[in-house]
Amino acid sequence: MQTPAPFEYERASSVEGAIAALERLGGEARILAGGHSLLPMMKLRLASPEHLIDINDLSELAYIREEGSEIRIGALTRHVDLLKSELLARHYPVFADAETVIADPVVRNRGTIGGSLCQADAAEDLSAVCSAVKAQVVILGGQGERVVGMEEFHVGPYQTAVGAGELLTEVRLALRPGAGSAHEKTERRAGDWAIAGASAAIWIEGGAITDVGIALSAVGITTVHLTRAEEQLRGEAPSEALFAQAGAIAAEDCSPGADGRGPIDYKRHLAGVLTHRALRRSTARALQQEA
């Protein structure tokens, strides 16, 4: 029987209360959201926090709404709600692409976007999605809030910019014209972690790529931000040849490890193919030409 080691538990009744508890309890306290990464790690003693602060009652952190020129997503928003959101489907279909292949529907009833991002597992899909769409995340602490981009947010494997005494509260997506986005993932079986995954977002105006974001999951020790490929695409007219080049860069710039899911050359190949496909589908969506 797998049971977590003993810990002290408290249930937060407000965001301020959760932060006060984090500050009071110090580095041995962890936030419990959906629990579908943290509890399995605690069962295996990969994590043994002395205190858990349960934020599942904080319904004020569960929302997806349009505010000015942004979509704002509360950190406690569950995968199931990201999948069903019409607002996200309209502006950033990459979320629905990813959510249909994240774990299974029952797990998606519990897991949250904030938990997924803070887990910062390189194989996790939403970290790549948020990187591709150039999300900004709001980190709240006793001293006030910070807003950081995903490159700054990802500090290392399972490490983020969220410090002790801080809470990720919101994910922000800018609404810009000409956007298209898509997520591609290859997995061994339904609900499994990716062998490799690629997220892309593209912005096209007047026939040229004004901006692009590409990120890979499961092919490095952290989410791979494909900045070199992005630079090659910016300002160009979208084309199959260009996307093939980006795919070739993706295969070069990732750093997969060999494991039960496949050898390194296979994963590099996948990273290239999936990047190409994600860019192709993003572009079709941006141009409203999706088949």
Binding site: E8, Y9, G35, L39, A103, D104, P105, G191
Partner: protein
């Protein structure tokens, strides 16, 4: 920690150790052993129960997190000797062999039909994609859930 929740419509309260998982609280403390404890890693779906009507894997939910919530287990399906249509469907169409996955399958199916009374086979397969059956090959399970949907539709039309 003092916790109060509803399980199968009855209020349950008492002292629960924070690390107690919902599946063990149900099986050992409440002696509701219909919920099965399987892989312990939120993969197999044998431990699925409904939390406020939504299926969740009870091996990956702390019992103390259920404060104030409504939990529904497989024991609640049959009422006064009458099987729930999903149970009847599993019976009619031989949707189980060893039965280990069945409680989770039944609760997952119940939640699906509560939300979507007329699911396609694809929607049924998606809904149960978080539940593993090593005996049936799933075909009869899908047929049984379809049977239950049809039975409930017929009952609604009669009413």
């Amino acid at each position: 920690m003092d916790v109060s929740m509803h399980v199968n419509g009855e209020r349950v309260s008492g002292e629960i150790e924070p690390r107690r998982l919902l599946v063990h609280f149900l099986r050992e403390d409440l002696e509701l052993t219909g919920t099965h404890w399987g892989c312990d890693t939120s993969n197999c779906g044998a431990c699925v129960v409904l939390m406020d009507g939504q299926p969740v894997k009870s091996c990956t939910v702390l019992a103390v997190s259920c404060e104030g919530h409504e939990i529904r287990t497989v024991e609640s399906l049959e009422v006064d000797g009458e099987l729930d249509p999903v149970q009847q469907g599993f019976h009619e169409l031989h949707a189980l062999q060893c039965g280990f996955c069945t409680p989770g399958m039944l609760m997952t199916a119940r939640a699906l039909l509560d939300e979507n009374p007329d699911p396609s086979d694809h929607e049924i397969r998606t809904a149960i994609s978080g539940a593993i059956c090593r005996c049936t090959g799933y075909k009869n399970i899908v047929s049984a859930i379809r049977w239950a949907a049809d039975a409930e539709s017929a009952t609604r039309q009669e009413a």
